[in-house]
């Protein structure tokens, strides 16, 4: 496959997102993984630096087309990191153990805050490439076997990652019994949370109070789905959240993105629920797959939020539209202090533990290479 074909492939991908043919963060994550899989399998790359360049190039195209879609950004970053670590762990690199300290998953070289900011005073990507080039030049004679070897390792790694993605909802749901008790409050419609409740409902009886999440009313959709499984479901208006909170045992919500500091970008209304829960000392549990964990810190909050068309709140046909401003933010930023537990496919974490997960899954140089907008 030529570079031109790769460009078409990338463009096709971004256009399909534009045309709303790929909806949902898990679908996007899977599509991007498949795209990287294709690059590994069918482009003509010579060595690791070449392959990484191709993936980064593709990633840049995608991030530039959808600068606000952090899921795409996360997955691309993770893929680059994954390809690199897989390559390092490949048998061919076993001899150069002294160089690996920089890149190993548990490496001590990079501290999280710097990583998040995309500043690293240690290795830069150019240095990395240089190092690899030196390594690879030594192995000229066996380059063909080396390439197949490396490719197999990377493919194996990507397959594992796809498995992780596909199994993430089921794995998160397997922790449901630890968290779901008596009266739960939630908002919006998250398929992860839906599955979480459904799993718990097999063994336990509980009540779910759902804030309707105006003006999209995604809460109605969740209610319909839960009620069909005979889970006791109550829909309340968003404004009633505070009044209901004193009766609630636990708040369980989904999220769009988990920021590097543990804060959330979740559907509008989440901040109010989390604040009300804090006031009543109710634990807030967030269900999020690992691909939603973003290495980006929430600095430009205005930039992170997306204001959607306000006609769900106020009809455009009304003649006073030219005298008023109507705002319809689609997301809330929920501060990490308001969140008690994050549940991912491995288990439950405190928000303060996220730095560890970040370190394992991302490399700071990739953020800069992809030109993080935030």
């Amino acid at each position: 496959m030529s570079t031109r074909d790769l460009l078409h492939l990338t463009e096709n991908f971004t256009n399909r997102i534009n045309r709303r043919q790929i909806i949902g963060s898990l679908e996007k994550a899977l599509e991007i993984t498949n795209l990287v899989q294709t690059i590994v399998n069918s482009t003509r790359w010579e060595d690791l630096s070449n392959l990484l360049y191709l993936i980064k190039f593709t990633g840049q195209q995608i991030v530039r087309a959808h600068p606000k879609d952090l899921v795409l950004f996360n997955v691309i970053c993770r893929m680059i990191h994954l390809v690199r670590t897989e390559a390092e762990n490949a048998p061919i690199f076993q001899n150069n153990s002294n160089d690996n300290s920089l890149f190993t998953p548990t490496g001590t070289g990079v501290s999280t805050p710097k990583m998040g900011l995309g500043q690293s005073n240690l290795g830069s990507s150019s240095k990395l490439v240089d190092l690899l080039d030196v390594n690879l030049s030594k192995k000229n004679q066996s380059s063909v076997t080396f390439r197949t070897n490396l490719k197999n390792c990377i493919t194996q790694g990507i397959n594992d990652f796809i498995e992780e993605l596909e199994g993430s909802r089921a794995n998160i749901a397997s922790h449901a019994l630890d968290h779901v008790h008596e009266i739960i409050l939630t908002c919006g419609y998250s398929r992860t949370v839906e599955r979480f409740f459904k799993k718990a409902a097999i063994k336990r009886k509980f009540t779910v109070i759902i804030a309707e999440t105006a003006p999209w009313y995604s809460g109605h959709k969740l209610a319909a789905s839960l009620a069909s499984l005979n889970i006791e479901t109550i829909i309340i208006s968003d404004s009633a959240v505070f009044a209901m909170m004193s009766r609630v045992n636990k708040v369980i919500i989904g999220t769009k993105i988990v920021m590097a500091n543990g804060g959330l970008i979740a559907c509008a209304g989440s901040q109010m629920i989390a604040a009300a829960a804090k006031y009543h000392s109710i634990p807030v549990v967030v269900c999020a797959s690992l691909y939603k964990l973003s290495p980006v810190f929430p600095f430009g909050q205005d930039n992170l939020n997306e204001l959607e068309a306000p006609d769900g709140i106020f009809p455009y046909k009304d003649e006073i539209v030219d005298q008023i401003d109507v705002l319809n933010p689609s997301t809330d930023y929920v501060a990490p202090e308001l969140i008690d537990i994050l549940v991912d496919h491995l288990g439950s974490h405190l928000p303060s533990y996220l730095y560890r997960l970040l370190q394992e899954n991302y490399h700071p140089d990739d953020l800069r290479a992809l030109g993080a907008q935030l």
Binding site: E11, N15, A65, W216, D325
Partner: protein
């Protein structure tokens, strides 16, 4: 999902030509579809929309500057290999209307299945898939479906309506949204123009349901009375009665439909789905020019064509499901700024400035210039923008890539292009500035569009509604009057001496270069006949306030006085406010969206939109000052309007009296007189009640009382009265339109008779000479005769007479003068007789 075979492709036709000069002189060097809207060429919006709608093939029809469009598309992402949407450009130099394009398209036989037809200047976030889906579903039921018009809801005073010269009333079938009839109303019409009180009460919910039962008595002629207007108070009812508007609806549609919806709340969104046979219909009917006025009307009224047209009504409910509900065409600079405002305030989401519409070229290192940083208050700041510490950026602004804003500059409600320079102490409000413009210190720009590469030097003030063409230099120290257009011909075509133009330095400043653009300059365009009427110049123009439209309307009414719409002078009413206010604010130039007409009270309400937006930076003090000045100006305008109104009615009255006298003297036939009167009424847009009063008075005055010396001459009086009334009865009944008018007629007669002693010198003499009781008797007899003959010649109905009589007795009989009392008493016998005959009739009915 879609009910078409998989091998069929979805095609779309873009009409990239508008056949008017609304954007001149900006479109002198650039086609309209490549003008930037929120710093993105307009054609990008429509291509993006069609791309999202999963269109496979697009045909762009253009006429002017096809090379530029071709070149643009070549360099854009749309022509990259592997892009799923194929774009073809068709050049039709000879076309002069949309109809011509359609006929050319028909000749080329490129269209294979149902296609999307839209304008190139169009912004929407609609879910096209849903609309297509419904279109094809309907097609399964109704094989004759030729077109689905996409219509958008907008209330009576909505800004989407302001640009249109005509408002359309759509009659649909409520079950399947089949279009049955369309009626267009001129916006400048008294009933629907500035004063919307009447239309409000005509359509209380903007939609009336007409039932077959109601209509059965006289289905061809319907009156929209206040059947549904329970909410309105009676005062408004009586007001609306005077302004009742009638439409004729073909009888046939009542035969076929039990219910019909009359929708006044819909506006065309310049998007339609057409069946392929639409093209052949256009080819067969070579006089069709436009879609709604010619094509839809033609299909609906024709008996031969069995095609049907449906409406797809976009309601805002669709947003609950995440589907967009915004769509708007850009016809002129007015809708241009409205649509830009909607994009900035995110009504068109996901079409918004910081959505990257055009992908940058594929080089790895190039930074995307299109990305904006969003700030609170809908402020979008591009890359590499340099904002000085003390500049003020107000709500709803876009600052393009590389723009520099210096200290104390103020920008609000505006768009600046890429690489602009806004110098110190300059103010930009509600304006659109294209790329590479520099604005000098202390300059002010209000509600205007500035073309690319324009240089505005120091101390230049550009008042609202100005359009400055590309490359013009203005200044220093000049002020442009509202609605000035300046242009500079392209340097390659002619040098200045050849074109015979000299730079008017009093207009553009000492160092300026540019010429005043007169709309007549565009005479070389053969299609320039669409809006040659000066009153339409105001429509869809940037910077137009509702006040201007009010003027347009009233100047139309007084067109006899001054045909040209001299809005500059008229607007100078408030020009002196201009002088005394501070340099930073100007009541004329506040964005028109800051004002609205309150439909019930008819005056302007000011809402400080900057404050309500919670914007980070706002100059609310200035706005308050604006408001004070505004209300002052508004009073003057009210007064001017009142005076004008009064004068017109005075003229009208005199004319009617003269006509009537002539008719009586020269003994015209009733037909001739009525024709003359009607012509007069149309010319002056006269009031019906007023006219009736004058006519009746004139007729009664012609009754000769001279022979009536004594009460004994009553016979003569009776004969005389009969003669006059038998001749003119028909004319009076022609002036009676509803049952309320009967009472009015009797009132006029009554007042006329009782006031005879005051008005007629002969009567006054008689009154002084004779015994009062005798005189009263004469007058009461006279009144009785008149009323009787009016009844006999079928001018007034018996029931109305009885009602009137009873009303007089009940209400204010006691407070009347003896003369009036005797007049009413004189009627009693006649009324009794009427009562009896009525009963007889009803008894007869029962016995039948």
């Amino acid at each position: 999902m879609r009910e078409i075979e998989p091998d069929q492709i979805l095609q779309a036709v873009i009409i990239a030509e508008a056949f008017d000069d609304n954007f001149k002189p900006l479109t002198l060097h650039t086609p309209r579809c490549l003008l930037p809207l929120c710093n993105t060429p307009m054609i990008e919006y429509i291509l993006d929309f069609l791309h999202v709608a999963k269109v496979d093939e697009v045909f762009i029809f253009c006429q002017s500057y096809p090379e530029q469009i071709q070149q643009y598309l070549k360099s854009s992402k749309w022509s990259r290999p592997g892009f799923q949407m194929k774009i073809n450009i068709n050049i039709a130099k000879e076309a002069s209307s949309i109809g011509d394009f359609m006929r050319i398209l028909d000749g080329q036989s490129l269209i294979k299945s149902d296609f999307i037809l839209c304008s190139a200047n169009f912004v929407a976030n609609l879910d096209m898939e849903d609309i297509l889906d419904q279109h094809f579903k309907r097609k399964l039921v109704d094989k004759n479906e030729a077109m689905t018009l996409v219509l958008k809801q907008a209330d009576v005073n909505h800004r989407l309506r302001w640009p249109s010269k005509q408002q359309t009333l759509f009659f649909t079938s409520p079950h399947d949204n089949k279009l049955l009839h369309v009626e267009t109303i001129d916006t400048l019409d008294e009933h629907f123009g500035y004063d919307f009180v009447s239309s409000d009460s005509l359509f209380p919910n903007n939609q009336s349901l007409l039932n077959n039962n109601n209509a059965s008595s006289d289905p061809s002629f319907l009156e929209y009375t206040n059947k549904l207007g329970n909410k309105q108070d009676t005062k408004q009812k009586s007001k609306s009665r005077n302004k009742q508007k009638k439409f004729e609806i073909p009888k046939e549609i009542f035969k076929e439909n039990s219910e019909i919806c009359a929708n006044y709340c819909l506006v065309d969104s310049y998007l339609a789905i057409c069946a392929p046979n639409v093209l052949s219909l256009f080819a067969e009917n070579f006089d069709y020019q436009t879609i709604i006025e010619d094509f839809v009307r033609g299909i609906l009224t024709s008996d031969l064509l069995s095609s049907t047209v449906y409406a797809h009504i976009i309601s805002n409910n669709s947003s609950f499901t995440g589907k967009g509900s915004y769509s708007s065409g850009i016809l002129g600079t007015g809708s241009y700024s409205t649509v830009a405002w909607d994009i900035i305030s995110r009504w068109a989401y996901p079409v918004c400035p910081n959505k990257v519409l055009s992908l940058p070229s594929s080089s790895l290192n190039e930074v995307s210039n299109m990305a904006y940083n969003y700030r609170r208050g809908n402020i979008y700041v591009g890359k590499n923008v340099k904002l000085a510490r003390k500049c003020l950026i107000g709500a709803r602004s876009i600052l393009g890539y590389g723009t520099v804003v210096q200290d104390y500059a103020k920008i609000s409600d505006s768009v600046t292009g890429n690489n602009c320079l806004i110098s110190e102490h300059s103010t930009i409000k509600d304006s659109h500035i294209f790329n590479d413009v520099s604005v000098g210190p202390n300059s002010k720009i209000y509600s205007s569009i500035i073309g690319k590469n324009v240089k505005i030097l120091d101390n230049v003030t550009i008042e609202r509604g100005c359009i400055i063409g590309d490359n013009v230099v203005l200044g220093p120290s000049v002020t442009l009057k509202p609605f000035t257009k300046i242009y500079l011909p392209s340097t390659t075509s002619t040098n200045k001496s050849d074109s015979g133009l000299t730079v008017d330095h009093s207009l553009v400043g000492a160092k300026g270069s540019g010429y005043l653009w007169e709309d007549s300059v565009a005479d070389d365009n053969e299609w320039d006949t669409v809006c040659d009427d000066p009153k339409y110049k105001l429509f869809d123009h940037i910077g137009v306030l509702p006040l201007d439209l009010a003027y347009a309307k009233y100047s139309q009414q007084s067109q006899a006085n001054d045909h040209s719409l001299n809005f500059n002078n008229e607007y100078d009413l408030s020009q002196d406010e201009n002088d005394r206010e501070t340099a930073d604010s100007n009541p004329l130039n506040v964005k028109f969206s800051d004002f609205a007409i309150s439909s019930n009270r008819g005056y302007f309400v000011k809402v400080d939109s900057s404050e309500s937006s919670g914007s980070s930076i706002s100059d609310s003090d200035d706005f308050k000052e604006d408001f004070d000045n505004m209300s002052d100006a508004e009073e003057r305008i009210e007064a001017a309007k009142h005076n004008m109104d009064k004068k017109i009615q005075e003229d009208f009255k005199n004319e009617v009296i003269a006509t009537m006298l002539r008719a009586i003297e020269e003994n015209h036939t009733v037909q001739t007189a009525s024709l003359e009167l009607n012509t007069l009424r149309m010319a002056y847009d006269g009031n019906l009640d007023y006219m009736r009063k004058t006519v009746i008075e004139c007729i009664l005055n012609s009754v000769k009382l001279n022979n009536t010396q004594k009460p004994t001459d009553l016979k003569v009086l009776q004969l005389e009265t009969k003669k006059v009334i038998s001749k003119w009865a028909q004319l009076i009944s022609k002036n009676i339109y509803s049952s309320d008018d009967y009472a009015d007629t009797i009132n006029i007669v009554f007042n006329h008779t009782t006031e005879l002693p005051k008005t007629s010198p002969f009567c006054a003499q008689l009154f002084s000479n004779s015994v009062p009781s005798d005189f009263e008797q004469i007058l009461s007899k006279l009144f009785m005769f008149i009323v009787r003959f009016l009844y006999e010649f079928d001018v007034v109905e018996g029931d109305a007479l009885i009602d009137w009589y009873n009303l007089q007795l009940e209400n204010d009989f006691d407070v009347m003068s003896p003369l009036e009392q005797s007049a009413i008493n004189g009627l009693s016998k006649f009324i009794e007789w009427l009562d009896e005959s009525d009963e007889d009739e009803s008894e007869d009915d029962e016995s039948d």
